[in-house]
Symmetry: C2
Subunit: 185 residues, 2 copies
């Protein structure tokens, strides 16, 4: 439903999208989720509700669109000296960000949308970050597990626990990393 892909940078569509996204971010910051409505967003963004309905379909899709945008990592993983240290540092930060209030909300928004594309993009971002760590380790001449292994044994457990209950503690995250680094067959 979203048309982001074929937008010229300065066109009208791009401006509308930008102001709607901005309005959503601001409203989400000051109101509770249940109070954020499309007419409200439209008012703040300076567009008509029908524009939003036509472009995004419903609130869920719009929120997912905004959320996936905010979940895009804004920097490379920190270089902590070794592959293991890099992964540990990254995983702890990931767990913390994703289990925070806003983090949880964004994940929920992405998963709640009908279109699966946003969720895919989300795990793709994660995969890319780990890829950077893996490449860096290989450049150093270190052994490093396969990226998919890291997704399965580190990322998935963290995300599962965030979604289905508790917040993963730092110690647990460290354990996951230690395990994947030690069984590198």
């Amino acid at each position: 439903m979203t048309v982001k892909e074929n937008l010229r940078p300065g066109g009208r569509s791009a401006r509308v999208q930008a102001s709607v996204h901005k309005a959503v971010r601001e409203l989400m910051a000051e109101l509770s989720r249940a109070d954020v409505t499309i007419p409200l967003i439209a008012g703040k963004a300076g567009v008509t509700p029908s524009t939003i309905y036509r472009r995004w379909g419903d609130l869920q899709e719009l929120l997912a669109d905004v959320a996936v945008d905010r979940l895009r990592p804004d920097m490379q993983p920190i270089d902590a000296g070794s592959g293991k240290a890099d992964l540990e540092t990254w995983a702890e930060q990931y767990a913390e960000e994703m289990s925070s209030g806003p983090g949880r909300e964004m994940i929920r928004d992405v998963l709640a949308a009908q279109a699966g594309a946003n969720a895919c993009k989300c795990s793709e971002y994660t995969r890319q970050q780990i890829d950077v760590i893996a490449e860096r380790a290989k450049a150093r001449g270190e052994a490093f597990p396969d990226v998919e292994r890291v997704m399965d044994q580190v990322v998935a457990p963290i995300m599962y626990r965030i979604l289905f209950g508790d917040v993963p503690a730092t110690a647990r995250v460290r354990d996951l990393v230690a395990r994947v680094m030690s069984t590198m067959d």
Copy 2:
């Protein structure tokens, strides 16, 4: 918002809940998600919409409530002879059910709801199933990994991939089980 916990079996509340749940299940089977509305459910269930709004708050919560009900396992894990075989059998079935169309929808409904209690319950069901397998293995005198380890290394990867993109293939599930059974330190 739900009041399921303090319901007498034959009371009016229980009857309303039962007929609403039934109406939801039937409507979900014949219509697409976007076409299922509270007034429609209310009509089919023979109650007024305001009853549903007051008891569940909104459609999302109602759907989550119905979904978690349907996700409750209706039988013990199959006994396949050994802990590893039990786990393999169970995990394959779990992956298949959860990645099916209705399975995905139910998971999404549970996760999309504001109240986290339903999601918790969901992973609790899974944990109990694995517990049964683990106890059975121990009764046979076999070694079996810690239940939390199985959650991290088998359940979480399966669920992560279902939620964030692909369907986990049978071969992959078998790999996950093999790995957790082999590194039982």
